[in-house]
Symmetry: C2
Amino acid sequence: MSTLEMIEAAADRLRGHIRETPLLTSPFLDDLAGRRVLVKPECLQHTGSFKFRGAWSAISALNAQDRQRGVIAYSSGNHAQGVALAAARHGISSVIIMPSDAPQLKIDNTRALGGEVVLYDRANESREEIGESLATERGLTLIRPYDEPQVIAGQGTTGLELVRQAAEMGVKQGDVLVCCGGGGLTSGIALALEGHAPGLRARPCEPEGFDDVKRSLASGQIQANAETAGNICDAILTPQPGQITFPILSRLCGPGLSVTEEEAMRAMALAFLRLKIVLEPGGAVSLASALFRKEKIEGDAVIVVASGGNVDPEVFGKALEFLT
Amino acid sequence: MSTLEMIEAAADRLRGHIRETPLLTSPFLDDLAGRRVLVKPECLQHTGSFKFRGAWSAISALNAQDRQRGVIAYSSGNHAQGVALAAARHGISSVIIMPSDAPQLKIDNTRALGGEVVLYDRANESREEIGESLATERGLTLIRPYDEPQVIAGQGTTGLELVRQAAEMGVKQGDVLVCCGGGGLTSGIALALEGHAPGLRARPCEPEGFDDVKRSLASGQIQANAETAGNICDAILTPQPGQITFPILSRLCGPGLSVTEEEAMRAMALAFLRLKIVLEPGGAVSLASALFRKEKIEGDAVIVVASGGNVDPEVFGKALEFLT
């Protein structure tokens, strides 16, 4: 359903609206990883994560009439901000359903980016019921965070960029490590690599204990996480791989990798010190895998997709303590 | 002596060796500044600051015989790392003269990047004497940090990039705020703007109390700082504008701007929160000027050159406290 052609069409629609993030390097990281490390910092994307790509792709793919009525999304995190800004820049409204106990900063940010935030009580209300009622009443289109072909196509544009940028740096073989929640980014990149870089292979990276994708790939069947909360990598904690993303991941990806919370934090600290970028824990598991699972990686070079940087200053301060 | 043609020639020599840094934006910063803010994050440049550009330019401009003998620089900071890495990538040796009380991390970094670090005792030795003796003995070429035409030309390539990038974003008029120490970056950018963007005007930004360039521009004569230490913006504390840079600054720049240490730290915090980049205090005075001296800036858009990100985690942690 999601194909290379859809990714290329998404890239056309995204041109001039998303930021082409560079590929960063540091000789110090190369030394630690035992090979060249090329980092694609999607924390520098609009709204601080790759999610803006998928949101723009999905909204721009709607027919004019549907688009004009507006969109709706469930999210307390990066997808919320991506959808809110992409909708605002299309001149349409967005409704973002968030739990009432979400951090005030995320609620404020989503509103400031143009989203109409509707809060619900996690304990007593169903976000799906609230969302469906609003969607029906106002004719809103639901933008799913990952199990949505046009969202996957948008995230896949990250792959098109990195293939070209890595080739300019002489890298055409190796593993591409991707922070993986529901698998939208990883599956989109895997499709782009299949079409344009047969020597590159996508590999999902997850927190230990929340490695549903890794286990699903190993067993060949969708496996769920026991929990979906209780890890610092909150941005990439999802119940299980998507119905649309999993077959793509299964067909195209190498084995999954997983890292500890401390390793994710150490990777954040090294990204601060050596690349001068801000990563959130869930956006750093790919770099952590490159640095701390190097024996499980093949090739002279590794490409790392660092997916986001929306982290509270307190958590970032804790990561920096690993440098002292 | 430094001209647009020299900058364009430097850009040719730098192509494929330096990183083209993007122009970053955030609607939140636009709101704070009261106009569009376009940030060029040279913290993402190799070695964490723009200094790598000038170092590469100067080394690549040497004749083959001189280059082969190696280069020498006096610096405990960003220029040291830029020269060390640029020399190593040219396959030549570099000697970096640093005070023995420089932070161990900076000494280690400079060595790791390929520099031969020679330490001197600030109290009892003259770095110039040590340097001249080594230079004579080994035939090394001195790479000055700013008062050197090929260094200015290299820094000016930042200006060529931002002119093109800003035009793609529809910005051809306005102030270009540049963190300013000895004036190498500011004068190089000013020359690039003169040639390619007559609607853009460079303006040097400094820490209050160390605003030698601002005062020199106002008086039309070179003015010195009373002190060259004792401010958190250590990377841009210099005794006075250069003999080569000042006439360029005087001819081409708008009035200087100056900010407090606290404003520089607040700008670092906002760059963390809104752009996901790491700035050092001296690399943030331009953003601080855009945000906190907005009444002194003209136009609907402002371009900010954020010059470096080599900051200790402790100092960065203090900046983040402004967010809580």
